[in-house]
Structure formats: C-alpha cells, structure tokens
Assembly symmetry: none
Homo-oligomer: 198 residues x 4
DNA sequence: AATGAATGAGTCTTCATTCAT
DNA sequence: AATGAATGAAGACTCATTCAT
C-alpha cells in the first residue's frame, strides 16, 4: 500500500509539473492535473489538501532537478588556478544552456511563473537562489584561500554577481539562441566574470 | 470635460497600480480597483475596455517611472576614463537602491509579478530589459571608442552582464538591506564589473 | 420649439427604427440609438421615458407603413365579379412581395422580432393581424353580398385563411425568391384561395 | 451513473423549457433555470456549456413533441378520395387545437419566442416549418397521383398554403377559443382548403 | 433643452473543494 | 482508496437610467 500510494503521489506531481509548465499555475485547473494523471478529482484530494499544496512539491522537484543539472558533481575546491576556476564557470554556463535547451518549459515555469504565484513560492525560489549564490561564493572563497584570487575579494557579494550572470544566461537561452551566439555569450561572460569590463 | 475625464483615468490607473502592487494582478478584482478609486463598476468600464487593458497602462506608467528614476540624465559618452565609468555605474546602482527603497511594491510588481501575467506583459517587460541592456552596452562602447576599455570587449554581451548585476542589486534591495550592506554591495559590484573576480 | 422637439422625436424614432431593424430590439442599446441619431443619452430620456417606450412608436410607425404599402387604396367593394376579387388578391400579393423586397429588415423586425419582445408588443402585432384579417373578411363579405361568392361562406374565418396566405407569402419573400418563383407563388396562392386544392 | 446524469439532464431541460416558456429566453437567467430545477449554478455548467446550449435541446425537444402531436401516424397515401383527404386535414387541425390547448406555453414559445432569439434558432424553426410544408405537399401529391386532385395543382406551393392555414389555426388557438369557435374554424378551414372561397 | 459621466443591479461563467456512493 | 456529480462563492462585464452641469 505504502508503495502504491507513494507512486500515485509521484504520478500526480509529475502530471502537475507537466501541466503547470505548459500552461502556467494560474491557467491550470485541478481538472487539468487529474486529466493528465488519469485519476479523478476525489483522488487528487486524497493526496493533497489543495492545489496550492501540490505546487510546493512540484517546485521542490523542479528546483532539485535544476540544481542537479547545473552544479552536479562540481566541488568548490576542485580548482587550484584561476584558469581552472574559469573552466568551472564555463562548464556551469554550458550546463545552463543545455538545461534550458532540454527543458525550456520547466525553466520558464520556475523562473518566470513561480515567483509570481504567491509569497510562499517566491520565498521558496529565493531560497534556491541563495543556495546557488552560496555555492558560487564557496568557489570564490576557495580561490581566495588558495591565493589565486585577491584576498580582499568580497566573495559573498561577488558570488551573487556570478549568479546573476548565470541567470542572465538562462534568460538568454530561454528566448532561443544559435550555437554560435551561445558560445559567444559563454566566452564573454567567463571573460567578464574573470576580468570585468577592462 | 477633457480635464475631468483625464483625471479620472489617472485616478483609476493610480488606484489599479496600488492594488496590483499590493495584491498582485491575479488576486485583484475590478471591484478592488474601483473600491480603491472610490468609483463604481460602470465607471471603470467607461474608461477601460477590461481589466487587462488597465494593466497595460499601469505597466507603461511603471516602466517609465523606473527608467526615469534609474537612467535619468546619464549620457553614455559622459565618461572619458575608466574611473568615470565606474562612477557612473556606482551612481546607477545607488539610484537603483534608492528606487527600491522608495517604491518596493512597484519594483516587485514590475519585476516579479508582471512577467508572469501573460505573454503580452512578458514581452512588454522584456522590451524594458532590452532597453536597459542596450543602454549599458552604449556606455561600454563609449569606453572602447575612447580607448579606456579593451578593444576586443564584446560590448553587447558585457552590457547584459552589467544589467544582470543591476537586477541582482534590485533583488537584493527588495529583500531589504541596511545602509552598510547596501554600500558593500555597490562597491563590490562596481569592483566586479570593472575587474571581475581577480 | 414645438416644432423643434417634434422633429427631434421623429429623428429619434427613425434612428431607433433603423437600428432595431438591423440589430433587433434586444441587441440594440440605447447607446446605439443615440449614436445613430447623433444626440446624447440625456436627450433621449428627454423625449422617451425608457427604451421600451420608443419601441411602441417604432412599432406603430412600422405597422402603418406596412398597412399603407399593402392595402393602400383598395376598397373591399371595388370587385363585382370573382375574377375581379382574384385580381385584387393578386395585387395584394404582388405588393407584399414588393414590400419585402424593398424593406426586408423592417418586415423581418415587425414579423419575427417584435412579437417576441414582450406581451405588450405581441398584442400590438396581433391587433395589426386582426386589422388585416378584418379587411380580408370585408372583401369576402362584399363578394357574398354581391352574390359571386357562396352565401354560406364563413367570411370571418375565410378572411383569416386569406391572411395566412399573405403572411406565408411574406415569409417566402423574406428568405429571398427569384422573379419566377414569385410569380409561381402568387398564381398558386390566388388559385388556392379561389378554388382550394381541387 | 449513466442513469443519474441522464435524468439530471432531462430535469434541467425540463426546467429550462418551463422557465423559457413562461418568461421567454431573454428574460430568463441561468439562475432561474437552476432555481426551477433545484440544483446549483455549477451543476448547470456540468451539463451544458452555456445558456445557449440548453436552448438547442429545449427547442429540439419541443419541436419533436409538436411533430409527434400533430402528424403522428398519418401517412400521405392513406387517402384515396378527396373526402378522405379532407378528413385527414380535419384530423390534423383537431390535433393542432388539442396541442395548443394542452401546451399553450410550449407552442407560444416555439412559434413566437424562439424565432427571435438568434439566427441559429430561427433556422432550426424554419427547418421544422419546411418539414411540415413538405409533408403537406406529399399529401397533395398523393391526391394528384391518384387522380382525385387536379393534375395541374402546384403541390409544393399549395402545401405551403395548407401549412399556413395550420399555423393560422395555432395562433387562433393560442389566444383561446371556445369549443364552438374551434369547430367553426376547423370546418371553415377544411372548406377553404378544399374549395377556396367559392 | 442638451450633455455625457456616473451609477449599480444584474448576467453569465469558472473552478477549487466536498461528499455520498 | 477511488469516483465524479454537486456545490457556491467569486469574478468579469453590460447597459438602462439618472443627474449635475
């Protein structure tokens, strides 16, 4: 039983994720979710208190998926030179573009739709952003510790700077880019992150 | 007459702006707008075809307000040295924080709520973003022309990088910062923009 | 003044007639009437208590127009033989088709729209119908008196029979007919009226 | 389930029929229908997409009912003499009066209200009329074939003539008649149909 | 007499949620 | 656990009518 119900839950979350991504949360009715999942209205309410409740789970799932796809396996202390750090950043940007290409609806939903739903969802997203930012800061802190970045670098704020570039890249990707443009953005952003505009 | 109706229009747009900002577009009924404006349902529809229609006007007003507040009077070719460019960027970041402090609801509405309403509003916002990005690029292009920035700088993409820092600053501001944090973010972002993480 | 206001009234009734005929009473707003007449809402209510009120006048006008167009100048005792009666009936049918051809919207409004508006308008139309029926009966009574119709003819009910043929012709005309069809219907109906199906 | 929902549907159509007949389509709100049926607003929209949609069903039901009540079981080729044809026509007129007596609201709604609602409903009614007309023509064509009606009779147009007498009888019935008047109308119409005014 | 801005009751329709089966 | 019919509050929009100017 435990298993059956767990599967049902997953099935519903997946269905919700799917319809939310394609139509947006507000334009999606519970009836769309249950139709997609192939179950009845009543069943839905056996598993979730309300429509808002399943959103939380969809968001968590989506956020986890994005985190996995972008920072998977990268360790902040892998880099021991500035070039290696640049390479890491390049890798991340590449993964970001890959993700957007593969799952544009998901990304658009998490980034553009979800923040506007209500304060709860906004906070949930901001938490994701902060996680990302902290990760970025950790990469920089490693550089400072190892001495290949200036010691007076404000790693925390600069981490947010890096993050904002990543998000900018996502938005660029969402609106669709050619492979050439993509390379250009990646290289320019790596350059910008490492040396600024000079 | 001309005057009375023009005032009514403004009054309604202001009321709509206010309730949209505090409750969000989707959670705001026409009844909320007219209650706020102190007029009747019918009057609303004498001035706007529908709820969507007044949003356009609120958005335009808001976008204009933001553009005015942030880039007012700054000319791309005012700067003739890198330090002057940095100063310009510092000024803009300062204004951004000022704006967010004065009108947090407006900024939150335009940046977080509006993009999610529908495609039309998203496009309207993207236009704003592109305007901002182009302005940033113009500042950089001026630096390249004058020789105080590297000649191989991709001004277009780097402009988007600058812009993403500005937006990041806005988001930081939205969640509320002390004057000290604010200064720290500004300085770090100016440093990051000029020299990168190195 | 008396004159000016009388003209205004006529102007409004004409405008109302026009828009009622083309859009139907229910689908016509007071705003359509005043737009057509080129006056303001307030003015309308200076001349008519409400929308329903102007309909009465439009209906009277329309009914008079139709009566004029169809029975104008025909006197029940003009005929002194059955053939002359048949000729009269033929003339009336011809006029009916002419009227429908010239003013299809008016006819359709009076016959199809007006009866359904409310009981008052239905009664008004039924009065028209009864007037028509009585006229038809008078023609037949003349024939009985003069001896060229059977003395036991129920002129009243048979008058209604004639009338129903006229209305049938109108409906045929409303849906559009070629000149040939029109002649065929007229001749058949004259034959039917004079000799029945035999 | 199948049964429950089918019943609900019927219940709603019946309720709609009832309130449409007494108040007219335009003056009836969905709220009147659901009040009459004793269900909620939402339930209505579970069964019909909109108010217009249930009208179609009410109309179809009503039209079928009328057809059944008036032409049930009569076969065009039952008659082999003129007298038998006259008897058939008498039967139909009798049934028409019976129908109008039993269901005056229904008849009034279908004949006076429905045509004015919109073009769709007008067309639906015209189809009914044409069906009736074609039936009448078939009766006459049978007479011509069998030789008891003149061979040069225009059965099509004369059929419309018969039909118009039937409709005239309906209208007479709608305004209420005594049994004596009723007999008189029937006999006169049969006479008129068979021999004309002569 | 004319104007037209303002009114607000009334209408259709949607959809998250409940509950009897 | 599952079903899906039923609910009803809430929302957008219309339009005949009024009234201050």
């Amino acid at each position: 039983m435990r298993n059956r119900t767990a599967e049902r839950r997953v099935q519903l979350v997946r269905a919700a994720h799917h319809v939310f991504s394609s139509r947006g949360y507000r334009n999606t009715g519970v009836s769309d979710i249950v139709k997609e999942a192939g179950v009845s209205h009543g069943t839905f309410y056996n598993y979730f208190d309300n429509k808002r409740h399943i959103l939380d789970e969809v968001l968590d799932t989506g956020v986890d998926f994005i985190l996995d796809a972008v920072v998977a396996g990268d360790e902040p202390d892998d880099a021991s030179t500035a070039d290696e750090l640049a390479a890491q950043f390049r890798t991340i940007l590449t993964r970001v573009f890959d993700l957007v290409e593969r799952e544009p609806a998901l990304v658009q939903f998490i980034l553009l739709d979800a923040p506007a739903i209500d304060d709860e969802s906004l906070q949930r997203l901001l938490r994701l952003v902060r996680t990302f930012g902290a990760t970025a800061s950790a990469f920089l802190a490693n550089g400072v510790r190892r001495g290949f970045l200036q010691s007076d670098l404000d790693t925390e704020v600069a981490g947010e700077g890096l993050l904002s570039l990543i998000i900018s890249a996502i938005l660029t990707g969402v609106r669709g880019v050619t492979p050439a443009e993509r390379e250009r953005v990646i290289e320019s952003f790596v350059g910008f992150a490492m040396h600024g505009v000079r």
